[in-house]
Symmetry: C2
Subunit: 393 residues, 2 copies
């Protein structure tokens, strides 16, 4: 007899794998140009500089040991200094907590801030990694649509006016995944004000903020309110394998997260944390490196958007190629992007249908395109293939 | 107004920091010899070999990217091969899941296998990292005392006879932390049998199994039953900073854990996972390295136990110095180890009182001594100081 405890059976039924991860497995075929990915370009990751930092970190043995649960001190210090610059205020080190990528911050925060049944407001289309965590915490989800200026605060105000009282409002404020849009400065101020008035936490999830193409993103929402917990990560600017994310949050939140982190995995890697600290401290090098990533992604993004507009004209609306890693496309001619996908794969191009990110809004005429890992010629070829599939489909 | 969501306030009240971590902060004074730690010796960690592996891993860029949630394929393969050798059967790769240290395996498994109110059986004294996780999951805890042969299965049988039906029985089968003892071969077979009969999972938590001093530990409990989930880690044999632990579990358990891992932190570090795989594959070097760690720890453990027996005679009973990182001491003369601690700190020696690990048994006359980070002369001096404190106290 091989028993299986009832919770396991339920968990297996209840949990859904990320639809995007499953799709990615299908689109790894060499003849397919994938715009379906969500990965930064490994070719732009600073391999030599990381190798140098790893060698330096391994000159002694102290970085091989366990480290503090909130993160290695010198890393927290450099993060505090960088965040102080972003936020225009002093950031004490006890407001900085290092996590295993920002996904872990989302996961630990959901344990700290939510009870089953707590209301969480997310954006629609949503970052699915956040949605998955909030759902697993048993939260009730309300979704607020995006427009060109980010989360529609008129819809959030309507929800509050109906008497709804969210515990948390989650926003990807800069260069949204998947929506491509950025929350406007005016809305940032207003969102911060609403958080103070109605007593909710804003989780400002910002992995893409430094990847702006023409001009920097507006000041963070966290600039305007102590009710905002800011998340970011080195995954998109340095390398995901460092597994270094962080949150900036009031000390009492960091303290609660620390106790949970001890149970979750004790601590992060002192080795990769020293590597991250080394690179983030080398400001002259870092500025040049991020500029190079920005330039490469900006060129690709603009080529992709130009090709889409050229080949599809009035039949699509796209987000601007302003930053980040994604372009969002709405078909205005009734094209169903789920139905189109098999034809597109036959034509040799993959994307993620909008419905994979939809919470309450119908995004069956939309798609997310990722431009990070292909050069401009390949991106143009991908759009040609998509146009051919669209003609056939 | 700076609101605080009610769940956060409750979490801060409800969660307790690890008593041992807090104590460690007090015992970092340079004039104190600490037997209170729980860390492997950084001086024995293979810095040069890790540096070589890091350089090799960074010759390309592929290890800088995100990796698969269950772990980097080649690492899972070498772990499967090693575990096959331990278990005496083939171990398919889909039964191996890499975690961020074994602590993460405990945390994810508690989500997969437990509901609030589920019964979890732990050992008494307990590994507090496991206890913390099971309590956070809302489990009901029953504790089974240890004796010289490990978990007292007569007490477990009594509990089952009373009609109790555990979902999980957790055991540190080899060189127990904190108890120092090893589950006997006969009890392993019996525990596996009970798991089959009563339909519970055994979590066999085995970070210390390779650190035997005179003879290898008996075959794993997992040898005898498919109801056993085996956990281990490279933290104690290579370096904690790699943050590489793993579980061997039926594929359906691994699949459920994978879905949770995606939400918890997406994936581990491909960089540190390649380093671990490199070292574990280099079997000739690895054998020599683990032998050297074993020899160093064995020498220290035996010196510590000899000194304790010499200075305290009949007034203490200690566990054998058979492996692992800890010796457990029971004072037979009524000494209260909590009351003795301040005097011991004044005399320049620190230990962890037994009550820090007690679940339902009175361990106020016991203490855990860690021998990993001091040489034999220092350990003897520590015991002299402890004897002086004991005379005064």
């Amino acid at each position: 007899m091989s028993p299986i405890a009832p919770p396991l059976a339920r968990r297996l039924e209840g949990l859904q794998s990320s639809a995007i991860r499953d799709l990615l497995k299908l689109t790894a075929r060499a003849d397919i140009i994938s715009l379906a990915g969500g990965l930064p370009d490994a070719e732009l990751m600073p391999r030599d500089r990381i190798a140098r930092a790893a060698a330096a970190a391994l000159e002694g043995r102290s970085r091989l040991q366990y480290t503090e649960s909130p993160g290695w001190g010198p890393l927290r210090e450099v993060l505090a200094a960088r965040e102080a610059q972003r936020l225009g205020r002093e950031v004490p080190i006890d407001e900085v907590f290092v996590t295993h990528g920002s996904q872990q911050a989302l996961s630990l925060l959901s344990e700290v801030l939510l009870d089953p049944g707590s209301l969480v407001v997310v954006e629609d289309p949503a970052y699915v990694g956040a949605l998955q965590v909030f759902r697993a915490a048993g939260a009730r989800i309300e979704a607020i649509p995006l427009d060109a200026e980010g989360m529609r605060l008129d819809a959030l105000r309507d929800l509050l006016a109906r008497g709804e009282r969210p515990a948390v409002v989650h926003t990807v404020s800069n260069f949204h995944n998947p929506g491509g849009v950025t929350l406007s400065a005016a809305r940032r101020r207003e969102l911060a004000e609403l958080a103070g008035t109605y007593g909710f936490w804003v989780i400002e999830d910002d992995p893409y903020g430094e990847l702006w193409f023409d001009r920097p993103a507006p000041d963070p929402v966290a600039t305007y309110s102590p009710n905002v917990i800011r998340l970011s990560s080195v995954s998109k600017i340095l390398a995901p394998a460092l597994r270094v994310g962080w949150m900036v949050a009031p000390p009492r939140v960091c303290r609660a997260v620390e106790l949970l982190k001890q149970g979750a995995d004790l601590c992060g890697s002192a080795l990769t944390q020293q590597i991250a600290a080394d690179l983030l401290t080398d400001t002259e090098w870092l500025t040049g490196h991020i500029d190079a990533v920005r330039t490469a992604y900006g060129t690709r993004a603009k080529a992709l958007v130009a090709a889409v507009r050229d080949r599809f004209g009035e039949r699509v609306r796209t987000s601007d190629a302003a930053g980040g890693m994604f372009v969002w496309v709405d078909f205005t001619d009734g094209t169903d992007t789920n139905a189109l996908l098999p034809t597109a794969l036959d034509a040799g191009v993959a994307y993620v249908p909008g419905s994979a990110f939809a919470v309450a809004t119908d995004y069956s005429h939309s798609a997310r395109l990722c431009f990070t890992t292909s050069d401009t010629a390949v991106l143009e070829q991908a759009v040609d293939r998509l146009a051919r599939a669209h003609t056939l489909g």
